[in-house]
């Protein structure tokens, strides 16, 4: 789509260079650890070596004897203020600091407050804790056995480790279709626990100003406004009141869902600042971050797919055990304990489906944040894309042809899925066809056949995913009761410059540029004259924040609507200035003119000045607008990815030779940024597909607790991603946009696994759980009798 505005205006469709870059390139960003206040104290945390243990005694005497250590805070100290437990986003409870027992390795047990970072660390070493280890439960299936130790002894009447059962869909219709099916496939799929590992860890600087009773917290948060309300609700009884709480989310070094929840460290730092009246800084180190928070996935899935011999799919049935760790602290909308997992019918036109999920407690840190994904969509996509591939291979049909046959057709949109979602728009076949053309699908198939005849291992994998993002309509979506709208507040100054503020918060997505482009598109102000601000709850309008690819679908829409309100007023002012009737005015980027006489015009800058200097009698002065946007539906970005892998028979190493990604996120605001989001998303799909996993041994010891063994892809493992887009606008979004930040992370792993299984299918391999490590492949090859 050709842009409607000139490059100087820089509206939608222009690859405007990012406005945030100059400060980052000079090392002048302001991340939380860069915040430095006079008299600031440092907080460091003592963590449990045990995954499950009773605390007999905490001896702080040696620690407090260290010069510079001011205090050691324990659960008993917080208990006095009833702050030792806090609610989770899923209305479960989580310890801030324990009073009697620990529930996972690396759990926060005490906090040392000192005048200096190094002295605080000395204090941590000197705290002596006497534990009695308790039996540990790490396997959620074992946690459900009748003789399993009950973990949440704090909950009166809790007799087991089962948290909740949730199901969705039509069970009877699904079972009936399975009985009638000509072919069925069934697979156990484990989607392991993984960690977002943004390169910046979590942290905060809390400053309670005793004179004014005001609390300011600079905090690595993707949702500053919601955090403010949570703080007010949780700590209201100790005197914190919402108008005196200011959350500032400064520059954020990557979030990916890990910076949505409230972690104990934040609360302890706030408590320490309130108690001392001094600013308190708490910054996790990488090992703390990897061992204690920001975990995702951990779904044990059993999936079945039913269909006809000719490849027509009919039904999907899924049962899942969800390992939440010791509390359900998942970051989901309240009504959806399994997030949006029930978008699992994917891109296919199924007659019926049924999904069941059971949440379980284990001795692990809380999981369930959405690693660059909209509330369990990756789990859903991975399942359906693996199962579709399995079915295609089972009946001997080409996986591309199989998908083409089962896709929801363009004319079926808006499409009601078997699990009740209303998909807004899509053209799935077009995206897959483009991917096939770009990668040269037919030739690759030929090459593969030749290589297979020679005993070489090459695989081609497809993933044709549909996402569900932009939560969400207030009818169904809230977090702790707060509806999931988002907001924009736009003010036009007399000199024709604009400040625009939002309830979201960029963590690298480039909002300072893309929101400015929306203003440029709608009002014709050059993108350079629009300043975007987010993240300060004292100035920005209330919003639910940036995660689940919701910024463009929700706050982006709010921006467009607010601009249109401004334009309506601008039209009235222009009519007054031009002595014309409003209906006789026409808009062309940046100006109103009288129909038929284009030289009788007023530019948006002239109108801006008039709004303050010469506005029509009876009209309020000024030119500004606010919008709280409640989306009528979610948006459904989609795409088709094709991956080609070569496998080394000797080492089992999987080498991604090519990866073509076709994405459709509707209308595009900034093509450069969209492509960047897809590159990054693909790499965060590659990681879990081949390298990333958090495991625990039987005693609950974490096995990947540092970057020594939690492997993020480097530039060497990462292929040169090949990307392109199709454009199917969202019919209900004011700009026709859908959101793009997470698509690639959601869609990529299945393409990679499907390629590896395709390479090994003739050896009897049907499925491999991610991450597909060389060791796993090596073993499969040896088991199949393959010689190097």
């Amino acid at each position: 789509m050709a842009p409607k505005t000139s490059p100087e205006i820089g509206g939608m469709g222009h690859s405007v260079k990012r406005k945030e870059d100059p400060r980052f390139l000079r090392g002048l960003g302001n991340y939380v650890d860069d915040v430095n206040l006079p008299g600031m104290l440092y907080l460091d945390i003592v963590r449990s070596p045990y995954a499950h243990a009773t605390i007999n005694n905490i001896d702080i005497s040696k620690a407090t004897a260290i010069p510079g250590v001011l205090a050691v805070i324990t659960g008993k100290d917080l208990e006095k203020y009833n702050l030792h437990w806090m609610p989770t986003l899923m209305s479960d409870t989580q310890m801030v600091l324990p009073v009697d027992k620990v529930m996972y390795q690396a759990q926060e047990v005490a906090a040392v407050l000192a005048t200096d970072r190094y002295i605080a660390a000395d204090g941590v070493e000197a705290v002596e804790i006497d534990y009695d280890p308790l039996p540990v439960v790490v396997d959620p299936k074992k946690a459900l056995l009748p003789d399993a130790p009950v973990l949440r002894t704090d909950k009166k009447d809790k007799k087991d480790n089962h948290i909740w059962h949730w199901e969705w869909g039509n069970r009877d219709a699904t079972d009936q279709l399975f009985r009638e099916a000509e072919v069925t496939v069934k697979e156990d799929i484990y989607i392991p626990r993984i960690h977002v590992s943004s390169i910046e860890t979590c942290g905060c600087v809390a400053h309670f100003d005793k004179v004014n009773g005001k609390l300011t917290v600079w905090m690595t948060t993707q949702a500053p406004h919601a955090i403010r309300t949570v703080f007010a609700l949780v700590a209201g009884h100790v005197g914190l009141s919402e108008e005196k709480i200011q959350i500032i989310s400064p520059d954020i070094g990557g979030g990916f869902g890990g910076k949505v929840p409230v972690y104990p460290g934040y609360v302890i730092a706030v408590a320490a600042s309130v108690l001392t009246g001094k600013p308190v800084k708490w910054i996790e180190d990488r090992m703390e971050n990897l061992q204690a928070d920001s975990f995702a996935r951990d779904y044990h899935i059993t999936a079945e797919l039913a269909g006809k011999k000719d490849g027509q799919l009919t039904a999907l049935r899924i049962k899942t055990i969800a390992d939440h760790g010791y509390t359900d602290a998942a970051a989901n909308p309240s009504k959806f304990p399994a997030g949006l997992f029930h978008v699992c019918t994917g891109s296919y036109d199924l007659k019926a489906a049924h999904v069941e999920v059971d949440g379980v407690y284990t001795n692990k840190p809380p999981g369930g944040i959405a690693y660059r994904c909209s509330f369990r969509v990756t789990e859903a996509v991975h399942t359906i894309e693996r199962m579709a591939d399995l079915m295609a291979h089972e009946i001997g049909m080409d996986p591309a042809e199989f998908r083409m046959k089962n896709f929801i057709k363009p004319e079926q949109f808006p499409y009601k899925s078997a699990l009740d979602w209303e998909y807004d728009s899509g053209n799935y076949a077009a995206a897959l066809q483009l991917a096939m053309d770009k990668i040269g699908y037919t030739e690759l198939k030929k090459e593969q056949a030749e290589k297979r005849a020679r005993g070489e291992l090459m695989g081609i994998g497809i993933s044709s995913f549909t996402e569900i993002v932009g939560a969400g309509p207030s009818k169904h979506f809230d977090i702790l009761g707060i509806k999931m709208f988002d907001s924009a507040e736009i003010r036009v100054h007399p000199t024709g410059k604009v400040i625009a503020r939002f309830g979201t918060k960029s963590q690298g997505q480039g909002h300072e540029t893309t929101y400015a482009q929306i203003v440029a598109e709608e009002l014709g102000f050059p993108v350079d004259s629009v300043l975007v601000e987010e993240g300060d709850t004292d100035t920005a309008p209330y919003g639910l924040g940036t995660y689940a690819s919701r910024s463009t679908p929700v706050a982006g829409a709010a921006c467009a609507v607010a601009c249109r309100k401004i334009k309506d007023k601008a039209r009235k002012i222009a009519a007054y200035l031009l002595e014309a009737h409003e209906d006789d005015l026409e808009w062309e980027t940046g100006k109103f003119f009288v129909k038929g006489s284009p030289d009788r015009a007023k530019t948006i800058q002239e109108i801006s000045l008039a709004a303050y200097t010469n506005h029509p009698p009876g009209m309020e002065a000024g030119l500004e607008a606010v919008n709280y946007y409640d989306p009528p539906n979610l948006t459904y970005p989609f795409g088709s990815y094709i991956c080609v892998v070569d496998i080394d028979k000797g080492t089992g190493e999987v080498k991604i030779r090519r990866f073509v990604a076709i994405d459709d996120c509707g209308n595009i605001i900034n093509p450069m940024i969209v492509q960047g989001q897809i590159h990054g998303g693909l790499t965060m799909g590659l990681g879990p597909a081949l390298y990333e996993e958090i495991q625990y041994d039987e005693s609950g010891n974490i096995l990947q607790g540092s970057f020594m063994n939690y492997l993020l892809p480097t530039a060497v493992e990462t292929p040169n991603w090949e990307t392109a887009n199709t454009v199917t606008p969202s019919p209900h979004h004011p700009l026709g946009a859908k959101g793009v930040g997470e698509s690639a992370t959601v869609g990529a792993p299945a393409a990679i696994v499907n390629a590896v299984v395709d390479a090994l299918w003739h050896l009897g391999v049907r499925h491999i759980d991610i991450p597909i490590t060389s060791a796993k492949v090596w073993k499969l090859l040896r088991d199949a009798g393959v010689k190097d």
């Binding site: 260079k17 990012r18 945030e20 870059d21 100059p22 400060r23 980052f24 390139l25 000079r26 090392g27 002048l28 960003g29 991340y31 650890d33 860069d34 430095n36 970072r117 190094y118 977002v196 590992s197 943004s198 390169i199 910046e200 860890t201 520059d251 954020i252 070094g253 990557g254 990916f256 180190d285 990488r286 090992m287 963590q507 690298g508 997505q509 480039g510 450069m672 940024i673 492509q675 960047g676 989001q677 897809i678 590159h679 990054g680 998303g681 693909l682 790499t683 965060m684 540092s706 970057f707 020594m708 993020l712 480097t714 530039a715 060497v716 990462t718 040169n720 991603w721």
Partner: protein
Amino acid sequence: MAKVPINVKVNGVEHNVDIEPRLLLVHFLRENLRLTGTHIGCDTSHCGACTVVMDGRAIKSCTAFAVQADGRSIMTVEGLEQDGKLHPLQDGFFQEHGLQCGYCTPGMLMTGYVFLGTNNNPTEDEIRHAISGNLCRCTGYVNIVKAYQYAAQKMREGGAEDGAKNIA
């Protein structure tokens, strides 16, 4: 803890200071000198967010003590811009969208500064290996490779100046 004197030049400015021997170089730069462009992303020398240049070599400042910099010369990201002109690498990252959250960026720039200084016509593969000690979670590296290539070309052409003028 007893302090020891060091003499270190950072971005051309000489500092004679007394510091604790256990103070890490990265904390010295960030907290004592308030040069917060150098970041910390791990505690095992894997991420490279802390990369600075010491006597012409790219080092991970989280893995060096400040006392080891005694008598040496350090350059951080804040030292890349010269006389109001950005380095071609900074320009390359801007032009090619080589950064998103910006957290890894200073480390990527300093690694590149030394790497391109020794090889101003690198292959893609050479670039990918050169930055394999610098993790980026946002960009997927494709555009970082392009940013290096952009800078390499500018450096071959000797055109540091004209490249940088596009950035405010």
